[in-house]
Symmetry: C2
Subunit: 372 residues, 2 copies
């Protein structure tokens, strides 16, 4: 039976055939991992139109590769061997139709220097290809969905731990440190992006880095966090309410954002466009009078990258298909006053959407953690 | 008085003048931060031969920039504005001698796609430059040395905490989780690279990722870790001895590696070459009969990157200068049996070398943490 990597390369090979390309020189380490399972870095994968592959790597990874990925063809460059010579030998071995064959490079990630080196060694003009493997990665296979579920579970467990132990004397940085630690204790390999913690009005700043501001200083704290598990990201946002009573404004805004999110999730189904889903959420927020306060897209693809291809954005005509995993994260921001965003991770299914992070809860009642 | 960023740009401007380049289009986010103080990402810096600069950024960062770096000229691209149009307008504003002026790009980091876009907008051929800013970054200024000292302190304090609390039931992953957490509690913003924890024979594997193996399963545990503080990395390695008595082989190897490291550090002074320092350590290891078991360079530059430019490697004729910060990390590896590496961070001073991580201790006696 074909491995998951062979299946992925078979999908890539179809694209190569269609575009009449004989070999794809893959340099993005995430894409290399996706197509052959090797995640050590500093290595390059050649994929042929027959879906065969060869990894150009170095001695540090030889033992690992022979044990963990024994079926993968590898060329091991010695420390003393110049990269260009190794590439010449490896490509000749893998890709013998050197004089006539065409090849592609990933123009969005290959550096100018590496590109010039590859061109000089292969002695032909490359076909620049951008986003093709990223487009393949949009539809997740079973292995990937399992990893995202595990990643979401670690993120949710970590959050549960800090919610239970929240201290008003913690700074945003302290909360970040505890949350990141607790996600790992819950099985995460790492965080999937730098955790955002924003007390009170700081929640209105996009991409707020944690500061020394204390949790007790505001009536709410926005937390945007995610775990990484076997390479796969989860991505969540919640706003905890740290007072017994919160302002009417904050209450209204919270309920509006939640309603917008629920509306978007109900709208999701195969065949609909990403723009229509964005519209569904945006309409709820506009009707509540906060249209100008929702100044970003509704969500993005999620997978090996925290921002995988695909976006719930205004007018995007990307058609949803089963197997896509996306975030749904409407927000309302009043600069200098407050900010609310609610974010969940959603798998597009044949029947609609499965919220992978539902167990976390998102009702306003569940967000109350009043501090003494 | 010129800011530290102006001083750095003035050094870059001298290179531009020498090479008759009018403008440097900087895209590496680390170099952008080094030259203007902005670390938000997704932004590009144009530096002129008069050391002036303009940042091409987007709306997310506008408030931050106006508050934190008010003196920096910025062009804020709106969400609806295509990048190419923004670049055309910003470059015309910053770099009016468009028709005749020459400009450089960082060929080692600019992507092929971005390079083609810049070339089409500026409508001239770029000068590919590789490693010029990285070479400037080798000599650290006072701000940078202070940050590296703080980074080293957080790494040392974190290590002290896990050494004091070490449990034989911890897995390598548990130890990694605790150490990363403790470094942050000691003031680190983050880790500087994925922490390595390797019990017993796993220490002989290069770049060993932590596994479920328990600390109690070996007689030693190799830990290679570092903190990040305001962007600056520290990088340390120690081998803790978890038995009351360790084998004669491990004792001999430890003492040999330590002697090699001390010899290298005594050799360091301005004017000597990096290769000579590598030689000094390698000779000690060769004389002890382990020459073939030290299969990597003696050290590397340290700063904003965990591998900054500069390397203590065989035959490297790079001359040491005051202000450089380097790791010194000899090792001896017996595959399948054991591995020892001792790594410290060293500032090259006018008189020789200052070990920034000396307070950690490295004698064999200090490495004993026998577990019950």
């Amino acid at each position: 039976m074909a491995t998951v990597y062979e299946q992925r390369r078979a999908r890539l090979a179809q694209i190569l055939k269609k575009r009449d390309i004989d070999m794809f020189f893959v340099c993005d380490p995430v894409n290399v991992g996706y197509l052959c399972g090797f995640t050590g870095g500093d290595s390059f994968l050649m994929v042929g139109r027959d879906a065969a592959a060869m990894l150009l790597t170095d001695g540090r990874f030889e033992t690992f590769l022979k044990e963990e990925i024994p079926d993968l063809a590898i060329y091991v460059r010695k420390t003393s061997e110049p990269f260009s010579r190794a590439l010449a030998k490896a490509s000749k071995e893998f890709f013998p139709s050197k004089e006539s064959g065409s090849y592609a490079v990933e123009s969005g990630t290959i550096s100018l220097r590496m590109f010039e080196l590859v061109e000089s060694v292969l002695d032909r003009t490359a076909v620049p290809v951008c986003g093709a493997i990223e487009a393949l990665r949009m539809k997740k296979d079973r292995t990937e969905i399992t990893a995202i579920r595990r990643s979401a579970r670690a993120a949710i467990e970590g959050f549960g731990a800090i919610k239970a132990g929240l201290q008003k004397e913690w700074s945003e940085i302290d909360l970040r440190n505890e949350l990141d630690y607790q996600m790992r204790r819950a099985g995460a390999d790492d965080v999937s992006f730098p955790t955002i913690v924003a007390v009170g009005s700081r929640a209105a700043l996009p991409h707020a880095e944690p500061t020394c501001k204390l949790i007790g200083e505001g009536e709410s704290v926005l937390i945007d966090w995610g775990a990484k598990y076997r390479g796969y990201a989860s991505d969540l946002t919640r706003v905890l309410m740290t007072r017994k009573k919160i302002s009417k404004k904050l209450t209204d805004i919270y309920q509006t954002v939640l309603k917008a999110q629920q509306k978007a999730i109900q709208t999701i189904r195969p065949g609909i466009t990403a723009g229509e889903v964005d519209r569904a959420a945006r309409q709820v927020i506009e009707e509540a009078g906060y249209g100008r306060c929702f100044n970003h897209g509704l969500g993005h693809g999620l997978g090996l990258a925290i921002h995988d291809a695909g976006a719930f954005s205004v007018g995007n005509d990307l058609q949803l298909r089963p197997g896509m995993v996306m975030t749904v994260e409407p927000g309302i921001y009043l600069p200098g006053r407050l900010g609310v965003r609610i974010e969940d991770d959603v798998l597009i299914t044949p029947g609609g959407a499965e919220v992978l992070t539902r167990s976390l809860g998102s009702s306003l009642e569940e967000m109350f953690v009043p501090l003494p």
